[in-house]
Symmetry: C2
Subunit: 339 residues, 2 copies
Amino acid sequence: MINLKQLAKHLNLSQATVSRALNNYSTVNSATKARVIEAANALGYRANTSARQLATGKTGAFGIVLPAADNLLMDPHFVDFLAGLTSALAVNDLDLVLSASDGIATYRRLATTRKVDALVLSAPKLDDPRIRELLAMNFPFIVHGRTDRKPDYAYFDIDNYKAFKDATRLLMDLGHQEIALLNGTQDSVFAIDRYRGYCDVFGQRGLVVNPELVFADAMTEENGYRIISQLIDANKLPTAILCSSALLTLGANRRFRDAGIVVGRDVSIVSHDDGLSSLKTENFSVPLTVTRSPIRIAGQEIGKMLIEQSRGASISELQKVVQAELVVRASTGAAPRKK
Amino acid sequence: MINLKQLAKHLNLSQATVSRALNNYSTVNSATKARVIEAANALGYRANTSARQLATGKTGAFGIVLPAADNLLMDPHFVDFLAGLTSALAVNDLDLVLSASDGIATYRRLATTRKVDALVLSAPKLDDPRIRELLAMNFPFIVHGRTDRKPDYAYFDIDNYKAFKDATRLLMDLGHQEIALLNGTQDSVFAIDRYRGYCDVFGQRGLVVNPELVFADAMTEENGYRIISQLIDANKLPTAILCSSALLTLGANRRFRDAGIVVGRDVSIVSHDDGLSSLKTENFSVPLTVTRSPIRIAGQEIGKMLIEQSRGASISELQKVVQAELVVRASTGAAPRKK
DNA sequence: TTATGTTATGAAAGCGCTTTATGTTTTGTA
DNA sequence: TACAAAACATAAAGCGCTTTCATAACATAA
């Protein structure tokens, strides 16, 4: 484990020159530069991270906190998101620091101890205290999602409103009028946006939303199963359902199977699909019609944005919204005639 | 953002005393200590991470590298593992540094730049080069899994041999003689151990393993589906199957459903279950009989081991093997009579 | 020649903490 | 009362880098 001082002595140069050579300063003679780099490689020299951090004030790492780590409800979306994020960061040898959430204190700790250069926030709530606090501390961060239509911080989001508008429209064009919405809890902005998209299509077509068909709860397999059970038991199963998550759809499908209801014929399903590599909607018993937006891409984009941010990009350059793609497969069909 | 120097001046004490007070040295007067801590809290003082790292040589972080991050085959087990790991580390305000894999170079970089105090390695291969290299560099690490029965490094593993022995025995006791094994690739030690467990039961009962029923491939949903398809098409479907992963089982089930084959009656299944929170084997259409060992617990245990290791625990204290639990549910039944 | 740039390097000052070596005060004991 | 031991506080030396400022060598222009 050789350090800069030793390397400099070995080369008969000052630490300063060696450091500048390694950091590719234009002021150092290219011959010297080459000599330094060669020696560094030969001796396996690697700059000590902490020392560099202390000197530059940059850590070369970004932070993310694991949502509710000891909660048994761990989100499988997170791996895909992480995969995208780290792959984007790896290009520049940057790392991701993962912390288990101890509430907002974790964010505060990460920010105040200068462990990371910036944070990424996932699943923002309406009027999220984390955002307020980081904004007040003037600590850089990027939000995956947003708290209102056009917020004044860096974010990456998909157009949830448009996606669910498209999905609802598709179902209606197929003749469906009774459409259940299996959504996430209404304290998340994405769920609200999706709900709005759904409602607005009803409004545009002069129809009225049946509140008994709108569900807002944790988007788990179990809940998908439970909600469909509930609808079947109450004999209120609509002709179509719109799911905010492939996990919900998985559970719904399980219930349909139990009841002998054929998806795509007896009931139509459109699901949102985050493109999880472990849950492929094209491989469902009946391939699923989805609004698709791979969460891995979101991770990648946010990774790039973090890099831009640390290079001084302005807030307005760091606000991105992408569209989800409507993929029509076999789970949607014409509404069955009323019995 | 106040620093130690300023805090010391504010208190009319030297930096040394303040530092020692904050680090709870016994040599500092308890009254002073209290005064210092109070002031630190009041002023929101937090020690700068890089500076502390540089001074102590400890980073307070452990590293893990994401397996094949740009490969679309992202393992859903990883989130659960991470959740366990970070929750154990959070107790001591330790963090996890995540890097995308660029092969062994990533491990080298993490180790030589002193970005982390130790590494955790997942999914070791036979004669894994990462292990060899870290051992040679004398850099601390803990392996999730192992490369042989009793290796000379720190590891945490489950008793795969025993688990699959138990599973095979259970199936045989139910009268099954034709048992397919859907396993992971044979370059992983766990897959080999499971295969050995499976074989040994055959041996003990004077039976011979049919190599046409043994499959070693990536443990994906798709492969589960494909392998069962293959068996059905060749008219070689055995009465029982043993799966190395719930994902494989998921795919197998999909194929059985397509074929109208009833799990638990027409065919018995035992699966290994890593207790993924997003894939509950008790919620399968037919609740699954499994050898269960939650990967989240493994993460937690490894987290604790990392802490022990950094406190100087010896290698022998850092070698743990736990047993998987055999949970019998509805997917196993008596072997159907031969037609 | 002298003045003025250019280019390439070095000396040394930090970055903010921990810890060793050192000094000063208080307490206990003969 | 004297002196050793304990208790407390400080000054200062690093930890290994980056970067500012100064300087030397050399070329160019006047």
